[in-house]
Structure formats: structure tokens, C-alpha cells
């Protein structure tokens, strides 16, 4: 399949698109949405060009369909639920039937094999497990390849390094910033690079430059492979680099990729930069058609030295919305605003500040205290700080630092407020 000629890939895409439309028509959301453009049956899709008749699906659509508007099977046929944070409190939820997990696992196994990793490798998965897809997705794929999987999850750097030494880990799955952080901590407990057996890293979940990849490869004497995915379209395994490491093959038997002009929605030509739109072709329980990823990228024409025919996707060049990626976790400023504005002791002005501390991102939320509720007690102020941290952690998963400021101390804006300051170095 990976080296199938274009006509074969397209033939499969059409067949699977029709199937996906049939599944989608079983959901309340798509029955209405497709009905509006006169698609009431999979037979209304006669060629791949008919894809253009299907309206785009957005994150808001998923949010408004919460919890079951996009569910195409009975709950008893769902074997797993994943979700990602919504822009405002309501998460987006993805249901997986048994076949869906199986297909996703296959895509990841294929991706892993594409990097040259084998059953002889020891795989330490440093991505967060749980509702996020980064942990379990690669875990299942690596098991299918037959690798020795260490499901260590995110964080706890000392333990990560010790485990890499103890089990002679050869492959890790990690965010680029966390891998740099790990490198900076080598030697602290008497464990040096020479004590490790690392040879490959799968890096993803946050945008990074070619320079960062080169730096990781040189510092750790490894090969670093870019990975792309988003939970709405399963998670990792949408696109992955092969041994050539010249951008990521999109698995076109499982996804249809389009690049559009984000403002007009016009479909752009191959090679032009725009917003990536993805259609899932092999997901029974939550079919998603023409999903606007908000990620900016471009597609290469077919052809790669490895012989695979699936087209390649460039690294992610930016976003069309204000989403922040903090150490691999997606954070929308609106999520932060929603939480802090519910706390009476906080005034209406606030600022979201992002910078780097060492290799890692650091998120600081700066709030002004509300003078009328100030009682002069340190204990209350510290309790307020803790309350803000807890509230935010429940929404955005990560714990920000919270700074308390005097009323009127944060910049005030006329017109559209610029509340997000991103001081991370641009590469």
C-alpha cells in the first residue's frame, strides 16, 4: 500500500470516502450538514472531486456536537474515548470502535517501521498517557511492531534518564523541548550520554524548526523523526517521516489531505502554503469530513527517495488561530480567560505570558487583584493564587505560574486587547 501508484491510492480513497460518508450520515450532525448540500446517500459521491461539495467541519462544530452528535455507532461498540481540550471548557470527544483502534494502530506501526525501527528496539514513550492521544497511540503501534515498550509517560526527568540507562532504551517518543531538557540534565546523577543506547527519537506535538531537529541529532547522536497528528483525526500517525527525514508522509489511504486558503476556503494547489484540511477515511465510530486543522503547511508533489508514493506534508509553519502550544499541550487563551473571569477576587485585566526556562516552555498568567475584595491577608492571597492554579489546571491540564499584580498594573488596551505575550525565541 505504501508504494501503490497514484491511481490505486485514489481509487481506494474514493471507495473509502463513500464508506465514510455512509457512516457520517448515521450521525445527527452530518445528516443535517450533508443534507443541506444534497448529499443524502454515499451514492451522491461519484468521484473524488465530489469531496469539494462537502462543507468544512470545524472545532466549533465538534464542540457544539458534544457529547454524541458525531457518534456513528452504538455506545456498546465503542471501545475507547479520547478527547482534547476545547477552546472554551467543552472538550472535543472522539469515539473509537474496535476497528478504529486497530486501523490507527496499523498506521502507527507503519510509521514506526518507516523510520527503520524494529522489534529489536526498546521504546520509551515519554508522551502523556490518558485522554490525550500521544501516549496510547504510539504505545499500541510500538507493540504491534514488537518493540519493547516502556509506558513511562511524561515528566519526572530523573526517572526518565535512569530508565533510559536501566533498560538501554534505543527509541523515545517525546516533544523536542522535553528532549532538549533531558539532554541538559544528563550527568546530574552520574548518567552520561555514553551510558545510554539512544539512537532514534520520534518528535512531535509541538512546532519546531529544522535547526532544533539538527541540534537534537547532534547533541544526542541520534536520528530525530518528525511526527504529525491531532486528536480529532486519531492523534499521532496522520503523517510521519521516513528514513529520508525530508518531511512527513501523509498516509493517503487513511486520510485525504487538502490545503486551503484559510480566509476564503478556496482549495489551493500542491506546494502552496495554507491551512491543512483532513478527511478521515477509516474511522467508523467518529467519521470526520474535511476537518479544518488550523495548522498552516504545504504538500509536496508525489515522490520520495524511500519509494513511498504517499505525498509528504511540510512541517507545521504556524496556526490560523491563537492557540498556544506549551510543552506539547494545546492551550487556547479563551480557556484561560473563561476560568479567571469566574474568580471574583481577580480584576478584569490579565495577561498570558509565555517564555522559555531552559529548554522548556513556561506559562505565566498575570492577574490584577480586585481592590474591593482585598483584605490585607497573606493567607488569602496565597489561597487565591492556588485557586487560580487549580482552576487553570482543571481546564488546560498544565499548571501555570500565577503572578498577582496591583490593580491597574497590567497594560490596558484600547480596542482589541493583546493579552498574549509570547517571548519564546523565534528560530
Amino acid at each position: 500500500m505504501e508504494t501503490a501508484p497514484r491511481d490505486r491510492i485514489e481509487q481506494m480513497q474514493l471507495q473509502r470516502l463513500k464508506q465514510t460518508v455512509a457512516w457520517a450520515l448515521q450521525t445527527p450532525f452530518y445528516r443535517k450538514k450533508l443534507g443541506q448540500v444534497g448529499i443524502d446517500s454515499p451514492d451522491d459521491i461519484r468521484s473524488l472531486e465530489d469531496l469539494q461539495r462537502i462543507p468544512y467541519t470545524t472545532k466549533d462544530d465538534l464542540r457544539l456536537s458534544f457529547p454524541k452528535g458525531l457518534l456513528a455507532v452504538e455506545m456498546r461498540d465503542v471501545i475507547r474515548i479520547h478527547s482534547s481540550s476545547g477552546t472554551t471548557g467543552i472538550p472535543t470527544v472522539i469515539y473509537f470502535a474496535r476497528d478504529d483502534v486497530d486501523n490507527w494502530t496499523d498506521l502507527l506501526a507503519r510509521s514506526i517501521v518507516g523510520t527503520g525501527a524494529t522489534a529489536d528496539d526498546v521504546f520509551q514513550n515519554m508522551m502523556t498517557y490518558g485522554m490525550f492521544t500521544g501516549g496510547l497511540g504510539l504505545h499500541y503501534g510500538a507493540e504491534r511492531v514488537g518493540m519493547t515498550v516502556i509506558p513511562i509517560g511524561g515528566g519526572n526527568t530523573k526517572r526518565q534518564i535512569q530508565t533510559m540507562k536501566d533498560f538501554q532504551t534505543t527509541v523515545v517518543h517525546v516533544t523536542p523541548s522535553y528532549l532538549l531538557h533531558i539532554h541538559s540534565r544528563l550527568g546530574e546523577d552520574g548518567i552520561y550520554l555514553r551510558d545510554l543506547a539512544l539512537r532514534k527519537a520520534f518528535i512531535g506535538a509541538e512546532p519546531h524548526s529544522e535547526n532544533t531537529r539538527r541540534k537534537l541529532q547532534e547533541l544526542l547522536h541520534i536520528e530525530a523523526y518528525n511526527s504529525y497528528g491531532l486528536s480529532e483525526l486519531n492523534g499521532p500517525g496522520v503523517a510521519f517521516e521516513c528514513v529520508c527525514r525530508k518531511d512527513m508522509h501523509i498516509w493517503e489511504d487513511a486520510y485525504i489531505a487538502e490545503i486551503i486558503q484559510p480566509d476564503t476556503g478556496e482549495v489551493l494547489k500542491e506546494g502552496q502554503e495554507g491551512e491543512l484540511v483532513l478527511t478521515n477515511l477509516v474511522r467508523r465510530a467518529t467519521p470526520i469530513l474535511r476537518y479544518r486543522t488550523r495548522d498552516l503547511a504545504f504538500l509536496y508533489p508525489e515522490g520520495c527517495d524511500c519509494g513511498r508514493t504517499h505525498r509528504r506534508l511540510s512541517r507545521i509553519l504556524g496556526r490560523t488561530d491563537d492557540m498556544l502550544i506549551i510543552n506539547g499541550v494545546n492551550v487556547f487563551p479563551s480557556q484561560i480567560e473563561e476560568k479567571i473571569m469566574k474568580i471574583p477576587e481577580v480584576a478584569t485585566n490579565y495577561q498570558i505570558y509565555v517564555d522559555k526556562k531552559g529548554a522548556l516552555d513556561r506559562l505565566t498568567v498575570k492577574v490584577e487583584i480586585y481592590p474591593k475584595l482585598f483584605l490585607g491577608e497573606v493567607a488569602k492571597l496565597e489561597a487565591l493564587r492556588q485557586k487560580i492554579i487549580e482552576e487553570l489546571r482543571s481546564s488546560i491540564v498544565i499548571s501555570p505560574a500565577v503572578e498577582l499584580h496591583e490593580p491597574g498594573a497590567l497594560p490596558v488596551f484600547e480596542g482589541k486587547a493583546k493579552r498574549v505575550v509570547d517571548d519564546r525565541p523565534k528560530e
Binding site: 487583584i369 481592590p371 490585607g376 491577608e377 492571597l381 499584580h405 496591583e406
Partner: protein
């Protein structure tokens, strides 16, 4: 009861000056002050001659400030006196949330200002008096 003015101040250059400037404009006399450092901010505690006026002057500017009851005890400046006070409080299980002291020259009068939990304030006052110390009422403290 004597009042202390507590002001929320960011920990950065120039913040104290803006407060002192406004107190000066309102002709407020500062009898004592202390700053509690909390990292990114501090709490400035002031004993002033006109606490209400000082409070209004700062609150009008939008400052986060509060007037808090403070138990101000006159402690003659002699060895062992502070221990005597602390022991009396300890025996009666009174918890001091925060405290600071200063000595006025040339009379060598020591003053200990204590923040006590509201529920324990009456008991604290009684304890201090029984131990032989004078509690300074508001005007006494402001006009020291």
C-alpha cells in the same frame, strides 16, 4: 481598636515611591512601617496618624489596601519584657499571625503590633493586660 493600613505592592522599583508620594500629598505622618516580601509582591504595613484618610487617599487611586485591626502593646524597653509578652500569649494558646515592633526614642517605649485571628482578638487583649502590659488604643498609637 488600633488600625494598621495594609497595602498590596508589586515587587518592582518605584512602587513604594508612588505610595509614599500620595501619602505625602494627603499630609499623612507615618509612625511605623514594615514590608512582608512574598516574591512577586509584598505587603506594606503602615501605622499612620490618620489611618482612614490614608486609606481613602490610596483607595481612591485604585490601590488594593485594607485597614486591619492590630493589637498594639506598649512594652517597656527592658531585657526580658518581650519574653514575658510572648510567654503570656503562649500559655493562653494565642496564635500571632504577624507581628513587628519598634522602639520610640527618647522615651525608650517599645511597641509591639500584632495581627491576631479575629476569633482570638478579645482573649489576646485580655491576656496582654493581665500580663501587665498596656494596650494602646487607636489615638494613643497614632499620636505616639
Amino acid at each position: 481598636m488600633a488600625k494598621q493600613l495594609t497595602i498590596f505592592v508589586e515587587n518592582r522599583p518605584g512602587r513604594l515611591q508612588s505610595i509614599s508620594e500620595n501619602l505625602q500629598k494627603s499630609n499623612i505622618d507615618i509612625r511605623a512601617f514594615t514590608i512582608q516580601d512574598r516574591g512577586d509582591y509584598g505587603l506594606l504595613r503602615l501605622i499612620v496618624d490618620k489611618p482612614n484618610e490614608a486609606y481613602l487617599a490610596l483607595a481612591d487611586l485604585g490601590c488594593a489596601c485594607a485597614l486591619r485591626d492590630v493589637l498594639a502593646v506598649s512594652v517597656p524597653d527592658q531585657p526580658g519584657n518581650f519574653h514575658k509578652l510572648a510567654s503570656a500569649l503562649a500559655v493562653n494558646s494565642i496564635n500571632v499571625l504577624d507581628a513587628y515592633g519598634f522602639v520610640l526614642q527618647p522615651h525608650r517605649t517599645g511597641v509591639c503590633c500584632m495581627e491576631i485571628d479575629k476569633a482570638q482578638m478579645a482573649k489576646a487583649e485580655e491576656t496582654v493586660r493581665q500580663a501587665g502590659f498596656a494596650v494602646l488604643e487607636d489615638e494613643e498609637l497614632y499620636s505616639l
